[in-house]
Protein backbone atom coordinates (compact mmCIF):
# COMPACT_ATOMS: atom_id res chain seq x y z
CA UNK A 1 0.00 0.00 0.00
CA UNK A 2 1.06 3.58 -0.64
CA UNK A 3 1.03 6.11 2.16
CA UNK A 4 0.90 9.85 1.82
CA UNK A 5 1.31 11.82 5.02
CA UNK A 6 0.92 15.56 5.40
CA UNK A 7 2.55 17.30 8.31
CA UNK A 8 1.58 20.89 8.93
CA UNK A 9 2.21 23.44 11.61
CA UNK A 10 -0.74 23.81 13.92
CA UNK A 11 -2.90 26.81 13.46
CA UNK A 12 -1.68 29.55 15.72
CA UNK A 13 1.93 28.48 15.37
CA UNK A 14 3.85 31.07 13.42
CA UNK A 15 5.22 29.81 10.10
CA UNK A 16 8.16 32.01 9.07
CA UNK A 17 8.82 29.89 6.01
CA UNK A 18 5.25 30.26 4.84
CA UNK A 19 5.48 33.96 5.39
CA UNK A 20 8.70 34.20 3.39
CA UNK A 21 7.18 32.24 0.53
CA UNK A 22 4.09 34.42 0.57
CA UNK A 23 6.22 37.52 0.49
CA UNK A 24 8.26 36.16 -2.40
CA UNK A 25 5.14 35.23 -4.36
CA UNK A 26 3.66 38.66 -3.91
CA UNK A 27 6.85 40.39 -4.92
CA UNK A 28 7.03 38.17 -7.98
CA UNK A 29 3.71 39.72 -8.95
CA UNK A 30 1.35 36.89 -7.99
CA UNK A 31 -1.50 38.85 -6.54
CA UNK A 32 -4.29 37.64 -4.34
CA UNK A 33 -2.18 35.05 -2.53
CA UNK A 34 -2.64 34.73 1.22
CA UNK A 35 -2.23 32.36 4.12
CA UNK A 36 0.73 30.41 2.77
CA UNK A 37 1.79 27.53 5.00
CA UNK A 38 4.69 25.21 4.32
CA UNK A 39 4.51 21.68 5.62
CA UNK A 40 5.95 18.28 4.84
CA UNK A 41 4.74 15.71 2.39
CA UNK A 42 6.02 12.25 3.21
CA UNK A 43 5.32 9.29 0.97
CA UNK A 44 6.26 5.63 1.28
CA UNK A 45 5.18 2.07 0.67
CA UNK A 46 4.08 -0.21 3.43
CA UNK A 47 3.55 -3.93 3.35
CA UNK A 48 0.76 -4.94 5.68
CA UNK A 49 -2.20 -7.26 5.51
CA UNK A 50 -5.05 -4.80 5.66
CA UNK A 51 -5.85 -1.19 5.29
CA UNK A 52 -6.94 -1.09 8.90
CA UNK A 53 -3.55 -2.32 9.96
CA UNK A 54 -1.88 0.25 7.73
CA UNK A 55 -4.00 2.97 9.28
CA UNK A 56 -3.07 1.87 12.73
CA UNK A 57 0.64 1.71 11.90
CA UNK A 58 0.79 5.07 10.16
CA UNK A 59 -1.11 6.73 12.99
CA UNK A 60 1.58 5.48 15.36
CA UNK A 61 4.38 6.62 13.05
CA UNK A 62 2.96 10.10 12.93
CA UNK A 63 2.50 10.27 16.67
CA UNK A 64 5.90 8.92 17.46
CA UNK A 65 8.17 10.27 14.79
CA UNK A 66 6.81 12.01 11.75
CA UNK A 67 5.11 14.88 13.54
CA UNK A 68 6.04 16.82 16.64
CA UNK A 69 2.60 17.16 18.12
CA UNK A 70 3.62 20.15 20.23
CA UNK A 71 3.65 22.24 17.10
CA UNK A 72 2.46 20.07 14.23
CA UNK A 73 -0.65 18.24 13.20
CA UNK A 74 -0.87 15.50 10.63
CA UNK A 75 -3.17 13.79 8.18
CA UNK A 76 -2.60 10.84 5.94
CA UNK A 77 -4.06 8.82 3.13
CA UNK A 78 -3.63 5.17 2.35
CA UNK A 79 -3.87 4.07 -1.22
CA UNK A 80 -4.33 0.46 -2.19
CA UNK A 81 -1.99 -0.47 -4.98
Amino acid sequence: MKVKAYITLKEGVLDPQGKAVEHALLSLGFQGVSGVRVGKYITFDIQVRSEAQARDQVEKMCQKLLANTTIESYQFEIIQS
Binding site: L14, P16, Q17, A20, L65, L66, N68, T70, I71
Partner: protein, 217 residues
Protein backbone atom coordinates in the same frame (compact mmCIF):
# COMPACT_ATOMS: atom_id res chain seq x y z
CA UNK B 1 32.75 15.06 39.31
CA UNK B 2 32.27 12.65 36.45
CA UNK B 3 31.02 13.84 33.07
CA UNK B 4 29.75 11.77 30.18
CA UNK B 5 29.19 13.05 26.65
CA UNK B 6 26.70 11.25 24.43
CA UNK B 7 27.67 10.92 20.77
CA UNK B 8 24.94 10.49 18.20
CA UNK B 9 25.66 9.93 14.55
CA UNK B 10 26.08 13.50 13.36
CA UNK B 11 27.01 15.05 16.72
CA UNK B 12 29.86 17.42 16.12
CA UNK B 13 30.48 19.34 19.32
CA UNK B 14 31.17 16.17 21.32
CA UNK B 15 34.93 16.58 21.22
CA UNK B 16 34.63 20.23 22.23
CA UNK B 17 32.51 19.28 25.23
CA UNK B 18 34.86 16.51 26.24
CA UNK B 19 37.77 18.94 26.03
CA UNK B 20 36.14 21.52 28.29
CA UNK B 21 34.63 19.08 30.78
CA UNK B 22 37.98 17.38 31.08
CA UNK B 23 39.87 20.64 31.61
CA UNK B 24 37.43 21.95 34.16
CA UNK B 25 36.79 18.76 36.13
CA UNK B 26 40.26 17.32 35.85
CA UNK B 27 38.70 13.91 35.36
CA UNK B 28 38.56 11.75 32.29
CA UNK B 29 35.28 12.29 30.48
CA UNK B 30 33.34 9.29 29.18
CA UNK B 31 32.37 9.38 25.52
CA UNK B 32 29.18 7.38 25.15
CA UNK B 33 28.15 6.05 21.74
CA UNK B 34 24.40 6.32 21.23
CA UNK B 35 24.03 2.57 20.83
CA UNK B 36 25.02 1.96 24.47
CA UNK B 37 22.20 0.60 26.59
CA UNK B 38 23.71 1.19 29.98
CA UNK B 39 25.51 4.12 31.55
CA UNK B 40 28.63 4.07 33.68
CA UNK B 41 28.57 5.91 37.01
CA UNK B 42 28.24 9.57 36.18
CA UNK B 43 27.23 12.86 37.74
CA UNK B 44 26.51 14.87 34.63
CA UNK B 45 25.56 13.91 31.09
CA UNK B 46 26.17 16.33 28.26
CA UNK B 47 24.15 16.04 25.06
CA UNK B 48 26.35 17.99 22.66
CA UNK B 49 25.61 20.13 19.65
CA UNK B 50 25.79 19.11 16.04
CA UNK B 51 23.43 17.63 13.51
CA UNK B 52 22.32 14.29 14.93
CA UNK B 53 20.96 12.29 12.02
CA UNK B 54 21.67 15.24 9.78
CA UNK B 55 18.82 17.15 11.42
CA UNK B 56 16.69 15.29 8.93
CA UNK B 57 12.94 15.47 9.47
CA UNK B 58 13.35 17.75 12.52
CA UNK B 59 16.43 18.39 14.64
CA UNK B 60 16.52 15.85 17.43
CA UNK B 61 13.55 13.87 16.12
CA UNK B 62 15.44 10.76 15.16
CA UNK B 63 18.05 10.89 17.94
CA UNK B 64 15.13 10.72 20.35
CA UNK B 65 14.88 7.02 19.50
CA UNK B 66 18.53 6.09 19.90
CA UNK B 67 19.13 3.08 22.14
CA UNK B 68 20.80 5.22 24.81
CA UNK B 69 17.84 7.54 25.29
CA UNK B 70 15.86 5.41 27.77
CA UNK B 71 18.99 5.40 29.92
CA UNK B 72 19.29 9.15 29.63
CA UNK B 73 15.67 9.52 30.73
CA UNK B 74 16.14 7.17 33.65
CA UNK B 75 19.29 9.05 34.64
CA UNK B 76 17.39 12.34 34.59
CA UNK B 77 14.57 10.85 36.63
CA UNK B 78 17.07 9.69 39.23
CA UNK B 79 18.12 13.34 39.52
CA UNK B 80 21.31 13.15 37.45
CA UNK B 81 22.36 16.38 35.76
CA UNK B 82 21.66 16.53 32.04
CA UNK B 83 22.93 19.43 29.94
CA UNK B 84 21.75 19.74 26.34
CA UNK B 85 23.59 22.28 24.22
CA UNK B 86 22.19 23.40 20.85
CA UNK B 87 21.29 20.15 19.09
CA UNK B 88 21.35 18.59 22.56
CA UNK B 89 18.62 21.04 23.60
CA UNK B 90 16.63 20.10 20.50
CA UNK B 91 16.95 16.42 21.39
CA UNK B 92 15.83 16.99 24.98
CA UNK B 93 12.82 18.89 23.77
CA UNK B 94 11.91 16.16 21.30
CA UNK B 95 12.15 13.51 23.99
CA UNK B 96 9.91 15.53 26.28
CA UNK B 97 12.52 15.93 29.00
CA UNK B 98 12.13 19.66 28.46
CA UNK B 99 8.99 21.61 27.56
CA UNK B 100 8.35 23.36 24.24
CA UNK B 101 9.81 23.05 20.78
CA UNK B 102 12.57 24.61 18.71
CA UNK B 103 11.51 25.92 15.35
CA UNK B 104 13.33 27.36 12.38
CA UNK B 105 14.94 30.78 12.98
CA UNK B 106 12.67 33.57 11.84
CA UNK B 107 15.33 34.67 9.36
CA UNK B 108 15.24 31.11 7.94
CA UNK B 109 19.03 31.23 7.98
CA UNK B 110 21.69 29.53 10.01
CA UNK B 111 23.09 32.05 12.48
CA UNK B 112 26.59 31.90 13.86
CA UNK B 113 27.24 34.89 16.04
CA UNK B 114 27.84 36.09 19.57
CA UNK B 115 24.92 37.05 21.74
CA UNK B 116 24.45 38.60 25.14
CA UNK B 117 22.48 36.49 27.60
CA UNK B 118 20.87 37.36 30.84
CA UNK B 119 21.08 34.78 33.59
CA UNK B 120 17.48 34.48 34.73
CA UNK B 121 17.90 31.71 37.21
CA UNK B 122 21.19 31.32 39.06
CA UNK B 123 19.86 28.88 41.62
CA UNK B 124 20.55 25.83 39.51
CA UNK B 125 23.46 23.43 39.73
CA UNK B 126 24.37 24.68 36.23
CA UNK B 127 24.34 28.39 36.97
CA UNK B 128 25.09 28.84 40.64
CA UNK B 129 28.36 30.63 39.97
CA UNK B 130 26.83 33.33 37.85
CA UNK B 131 25.77 36.45 39.74
CA UNK B 132 22.01 36.93 39.66
CA UNK B 133 20.81 38.59 36.45
CA UNK B 134 24.32 39.00 35.18
CA UNK B 135 24.96 39.45 31.46
CA UNK B 136 27.28 37.07 29.70
CA UNK B 137 28.47 36.71 26.13
CA UNK B 138 28.28 33.41 24.29
CA UNK B 139 28.31 32.19 20.69
CA UNK B 140 25.29 30.70 19.03
CA UNK B 141 25.32 28.56 15.89
CA UNK B 142 22.03 27.10 14.80
CA UNK B 143 19.26 26.96 12.23
CA UNK B 144 16.47 25.96 14.61
CA UNK B 145 16.72 27.91 17.82
CA UNK B 146 13.39 29.66 17.77
CA UNK B 147 11.85 28.57 21.05
CA UNK B 148 8.12 27.92 21.07
CA UNK B 149 5.68 26.75 23.70
CA UNK B 150 1.94 27.09 23.87
CA UNK B 151 0.70 29.88 26.11
CA UNK B 152 -0.11 27.59 29.01
CA UNK B 153 3.27 25.97 29.01
CA UNK B 154 4.94 29.31 28.60
CA UNK B 155 3.18 30.69 31.61
CA UNK B 156 4.01 27.64 33.65
CA UNK B 157 7.72 27.72 32.92
CA UNK B 158 7.90 31.46 33.46
CA UNK B 159 6.09 31.20 36.80
CA UNK B 160 8.19 28.29 37.81
CA UNK B 161 11.52 29.97 37.07
CA UNK B 162 12.34 27.46 34.38
CA UNK B 163 13.57 30.08 31.95
CA UNK B 164 17.28 30.01 32.69
CA UNK B 165 18.76 32.20 29.94
CA UNK B 166 17.22 34.97 27.91
CA UNK B 167 18.69 36.83 24.95
CA UNK B 168 19.49 40.35 26.03
CA UNK B 169 19.00 43.07 23.44
CA UNK B 170 18.56 41.54 19.99
CA UNK B 171 16.52 38.38 19.81
CA UNK B 172 18.49 36.52 17.15
CA UNK B 173 16.03 33.83 16.15
CA UNK B 174 12.52 34.87 17.10
CA UNK B 175 12.27 32.85 20.32
CA UNK B 176 9.17 33.49 22.39
CA UNK B 177 10.00 35.77 25.30
CA UNK B 178 13.60 35.76 24.02
CA UNK B 179 14.12 32.38 25.65
CA UNK B 180 17.60 30.95 25.12
CA UNK B 181 17.58 28.14 27.65
CA UNK B 182 15.10 26.32 29.87
CA UNK B 183 15.22 23.67 32.55
CA UNK B 184 12.79 21.03 33.74
CA UNK B 185 10.68 21.42 36.83
CA UNK B 186 13.21 19.82 39.13
CA UNK B 187 16.03 21.88 37.68
CA UNK B 188 18.35 18.99 36.92
CA UNK B 189 17.87 19.04 33.14
CA UNK B 190 18.99 22.13 31.24
CA UNK B 191 18.74 22.88 27.54
CA UNK B 192 20.31 25.91 25.91
CA UNK B 193 20.95 27.10 22.38
CA UNK B 194 24.17 29.07 23.10
CA UNK B 195 27.48 27.22 23.29
CA UNK B 196 29.18 27.66 26.66
CA UNK B 197 31.93 25.23 25.64
CA UNK B 198 33.09 27.70 22.99
CA UNK B 199 33.88 30.44 25.50
CA UNK B 200 35.75 28.60 28.19
CA UNK B 201 39.21 29.96 27.41
CA UNK B 202 40.55 33.48 27.06
CA UNK B 203 42.27 32.51 23.83
CA UNK B 204 38.84 31.83 22.32
CA UNK B 205 37.38 35.13 23.43
CA UNK B 206 36.28 34.73 27.01
CA UNK B 207 35.50 32.67 30.08
CA UNK B 208 31.77 33.31 30.29
CA UNK B 209 30.96 29.72 29.39
CA UNK B 210 33.52 28.19 31.69
CA UNK B 211 31.52 29.37 34.70
CA UNK B 212 28.72 27.05 33.68
CA UNK B 213 30.99 24.03 33.86
CA UNK B 214 32.53 25.31 37.07
CA UNK B 215 29.05 25.66 38.53
CA UNK B 216 28.41 22.00 37.85
CA UNK B 217 31.45 20.75 39.72
Amino acid sequence: MKFGVVIFPGSNCDRDCVHVAQTVSGNKVESLWHKETSLPRLDCLIIPGGFSYGDYLRPGAIAHFSPIMPEVKAFAERGGLVLGICNGFQILVETGLLPGALMRNVSLKFICDRVTLEIENNKLPFTCRYPAHSLVSMPIAHMEGNYFADSETLKRIEDNNQVVFRYHGDNPNGSLHSIAGVCNEKGNVLGMMPHPERVAETLLGGQDGRLLFESII
